[in-house]
Point group: C2
Chain length 281, copies 2
């Protein structure tokens, strides 16, 4: 009963996985939530027809969203994750000992339930006592949270369409910035700088309205499931130097990571030549 | 009359382009040669059902195959290209003034004809007097060429299946090494280190049988059309230091490149953590 499932990009390109079994399929208040067992990627989460994460390749995305920030923020004791309902981002944060509170705000209870039941190798930390799970709207949460409270805010949303659209606005970045303690940082995924080029440029421009221009740093790496050649994330802060890796902390996580290490960290900040021209130095 | 054309990977994943027009379709002595006009990538070369190169994204592959070597070899006066029938690799070499002879050995006359007619933005150098074009078998050419003649040998073949299989063997690498002058280097594409992981590891192992272990350097970058998240190339030599970029020469090419620059050069050699474990330092 295996079948091809394709994600189509604007009727221009498509990426397909051979699906061997449908493990979960429900329409939530926000989106269609599906978990497929696929031949190549293992179990795979699909939201509104978009491949989100899979057992085989999720480490690229989750390590790169989290580990660069964890190697730079001096004392990331309090971490806030907006989105991240598959649990992979929380797992990467909790590999470290220094966070004592990780607050995860996921809007869609159905995503949490599907992932907890079907993707246990991605979300391994649901029972960690340091994890505080909130089912709710991340935008509202950020608006109402205490100022200067978090050391690290991580935005782990979908692409800038659908329910996650608000997570890419200047207003939201400003609201996140308000939550940061001195020395804190914001980390986020910024989409494909090639396939979603215009949105990527806009995301960086929006961040530069809130943080000092030279402290907004996009960085790059692979994300196989997104079939878009190159993925991007960004870090923004008022103080951090992106080269000043806390060597001990990064060294302690390297035995556990599959993609990230200190050389990859430094390399990821190199700007492709055309983006360097467009973004300025 | 637009239709989807998919490249399938082992009945596991597939990558498709919406084709608006078939511009060329012939079966040569070696393979099926097609040029499609596609909505997303523009004109696209397909060999035996595998996407090879396209107007929109060919710069990633061609710049990364050529420019790192051109920034490292001291006097690349004589360059040999095995394969490369689309002309993109020759174009990248001929951006520089220092090569006085570029010999391109392509086995398939049909590929040359299709590309020359339909992909003029990729192969822009067919009439450059420095280019010597030979229609013939690259493996035989390398076996019979003069020893210690070339400053740079570039292997620009397909994946290690079909007519290009012989281009990934120890014997072929040994034959290429024989052609290198002192200070010369070999550059090649090494496939996807993720999707074609085992072949990638074997390619590096084969190169290490011919060149000193510490002088065989894989490097990485995006290659959108291959839908395989991360692509790899490798450089091998007896002498070169991969950090010792000839700054003037790289600086002169940067106004013309879309992906490559000196920061990208240095960054590309960072090894993903799992490959670092597998390959050793």
């Amino acid at each position: 009963m295996a079948f091809w499932y394709d994600e189509t990009f604007e009727d221009r390109t498509r990426y397909g996985c051979k699906v061997s079994e449908v493990l979960f399929s429900e329409r939530s208040a926000y989106q269609k939530v599906e978990v497929f067992d696929t031949v190549h990627y293992g179990r795979t989460l699909v939201l509104d027809g978009i491949f989100m994460t899979s057992e085989r390749e999720e480490h690229f995305y989750h390590e790169m969203l989290v580990q660069p920030a964890m190697a730079l923020v001096h004392e990331p004791g309090r971490v806030l994750i907006i989105g991240g309902g598959d649990g992979g981002t929380a797992r990467e944060v909790l590999r470290h000992l220094v966070p004592h509170t990780v607050t995860l705000v996921e809007i869609d209870e159905t995503v949490l339930r599907a992932c907890r039941e079907h993707l246990p190798t991605i979300g391994t930390c649901w029972d960690d006592p340091r994890l505080e799970l909130i089912v709710g709207n991340g935008v509202s949460y950020v608006e109402h949270a205490n100022a200067a409270y978090y050391d690290l805010v991580i935005i782990d949303g979908c692409d800038p369409v659908g329910p996650a659209r608000g997570l890419f606005s200047v207003e939201f970045y400003r609201a996140c910035e308000r939550l940061l303690r001195p020395g804190g940082a914001l980390a986020l995924q910024a989409g494909s700088p090639i396939l979603q080029h215009d949105q990527f440029i806009e995301t960086i421009a929006n961040l530069r309205q809130v943080f000092p221009r030279e402290r907004v740093k996009p960085y790059f790496g692979p994300a196989p499931l997104y079939a878009s050649d190159l993925w991007s994330w960004a870090l923004a802060s008022h103080e951090l130097d992106w080269h000043a890796i806390i060597e001990d902390r990064a060294a302690r996580v390297e035995p556990h990571t599959k993609y990230y290490n200190r050389e990859i960290h430094r390399a990821a900040f190199a700007l492709p030549n055309n983006l360097k021209r467009e973004l300025g130095a």
